[in-house]
Symmetry: C2
Subunit: 339 residues, 2 copies
């Protein structure tokens, strides 16, 4: 590990990139220098971090010799293009794209769950899919109580998960509906304002879309449970930010008491119990927005199966679901001297 960390953010002007600078500042991440990179369209723009104004530079192969850790959130094709040159130059990529998540030689990491997998990094550590992170932050403390057999999850995914342009389209459609105009469709395939639709990633031969497939298989990899049974239905909803998930968990045999589950969630890092039946107060995306914690509530024994429980979770997919998790991986790498 270098004494003076040279950090880079690739994809600096995107929704996740923007959030990355906020997280680095809020956590007072210990970089010596911070540089911001993007495509030629964004060169000349400026970003802010820790009261410093940073010029956005063009992403080119020769930059990696001067960067120790690069936080990538510029899409799979960019990671694929620059992975080799970054590794050769000795720069560690922490990647938000799905490009290499399922590769055997790439750790896929949620630091609270499998941080130690970072130790086998081969120049790249992948940040999991946002829906997988939100779900597993709730699953992990519970599976420590009792082994899990099967998960059935339905998601309520915010528009910002589809990127900054999709979010702008949602806001434009909302305005158009208010003034009585027909909503414009350019980025998303269907109207999202006052509507919802099945996640618009391609459907595979098994009938699952790409988002569901990631959620299922990335979860198995992160938990080191390659045969864990999971089914998922991923839906995009008209919420600006923070994903929600309705989760049914079946244990191999029996189930912990609701009180035991509440206790492990209260004790676990990165999650917060929001489960007040008296006041009918439970996790909501509006309250997860901008926060670091995954909110967990509606914890109850499933009356349809003696080994199952139900719960409902919300988490900010731009923070813990992306930028925060990436920065936490960098922190883990630094504190464990893995550079």
């Amino acid at each position: 590990m270098k004494n003076e960390l040279r950090l880079g953010v690739v994809g600096a002007t995107g929704a996740v990139g923007q959030e990355m600078f906020r997280v680095l500042e809020q956590r007072n991440f210990p970089y010596a220098t911070l540089r911001a990179f993007a495509s030629f369209r964004s060169v000349g723009k400026k970003v802010q971090c820790k009261n410093e104004e940073i010029n956005v530079e063009l992403l080119e192969s020769n930059i990696f010799a001067d960067i120790d850790i690069a936080l990538f959130s510029a899409g799979s094709s960019i990671t694929k293009e620059f992975r080799h040159v970054a590794k050769t130059a000795g720069c560690l990529i922490i990647d938000n794209s799905s490009a290499f998540r399922m590769d055997d030689d790439v750790p896929l990491v949620i630091p609270e769950i499998n941080g130690n997998d970072c130790k086998d990094h081969n120049g790249l550590i992948a940040v999991p899919n946002c829906s997988a992170i939100v779900m597993l932050m709730a699953i992990n403390p519970i599976q420590a109580l009792q082994p899990i057999k099967r998960i059935i999850v339905s998601t309520y995914q915010a528009v910002s998960g589809a990127g900054a342009q999709a979010l702008a389209e949602f806001e434009q459609q909302t305005k158009q509906i208010v003034v009585g105009e027909a909503p414009t469709l350019k980025v998303l395939p269907y109207q999202i304002a006052s509507n919802l639709f099945s996640h618009n990633t391609p459907i595979n031969d098994e009938g699952y879309n790409g988002e569901e497939w990631k959620l299922i298989h990335e979860s198995q990899k992160i938990l080191h449970l390659p045969t864990l049974s999971i089914t998922a239905t991923c839906i995009r909803v008209p919420v600006q930010r923070a994903h929600s998930e309705s989760i049914n968990i079946e244990f191999i045999s029996g189930r912990p008491s609701v009180e035991m589950i509440r206790n492990v969630i209260n004790a676990a890092p990165g999650v917060k119990l929001v489960d007040d039946s008296e006041r009918n107060y439970f996790p909501m995306p509006l309250e997860a927005t901008g926060g670091d914690d995954i909110l967990i509530g509606r914890i109850r024994h499933d009356i349809s199966n003696p080994n199952a429980i139900d719960l409902f979770v919300c988490g900010d997919q731009l923070r813990k679901g992306a930028a925060l998790n990436a920065v936490q991986i960098a922190e883990f790498v630094l504190s464990n001297r893995l550079l």
Copy 2:
């Protein structure tokens, strides 16, 4: 049955009442006279049906002698108050409230599924909870293929299901967000625009809310399967109209092919297959809005259980989930001479 049917709509100015007049007109329902009733606050208002303008009258005990069928959608307390007097006067109530749905002597009817239960009416036939209707319209043709063991459902429920005032509040909040004002809360417990929350009916000792409890137990009654295992998580989402549901169905043994399921749905009344994986085109609340059919899609074998399938459905909860189902019950009563 009288030769000249005298029909009444009780709760004529509410969200369901308004929809009732549209459905009666569209189906050219064969009434001789149609009267509209509401509380004193709405007396003097006018409603429209079949090009006729109808004065809203005060709901009083003495009206039932002159009404053969009364379509009630004025809340449980109104049904409880007038049930006895209506029965004594020989008026059949078709009730949208939950007041008597689970009573042993009250048929709870979706005509496509258990219309024959109307034959045992005791002066009142109940219309099921909207979420139960939307779900069971999909479940019923599928369970005819193979018996069902367990259902796990997560709902995405539209704001209009909470009534006309809640819908107005959602529209007001949307406008307030667009102009940068803080959203006003009066009817609903939490902001609904760009947010979602657990259905705000009281939570029982088992940890389920009132909506979930209705969905579970009404479904068992309608299907005549009192021990069918069901769990439900009911969520209110920022959609104006039409409920969506993510449904996992486990069969007792084995499962039908996806093709067989598609075929029975194509053949069943009141449902429409919307399941185009090539175009990523599936049920959406916007397309269910104002329509009579429950839209069914995302039909696939669940990879987590060899006896289970997943699907996603949408239905207009003011139409098939309320007004249309009530009018269809009245049609069944008339065609089977059950008055």
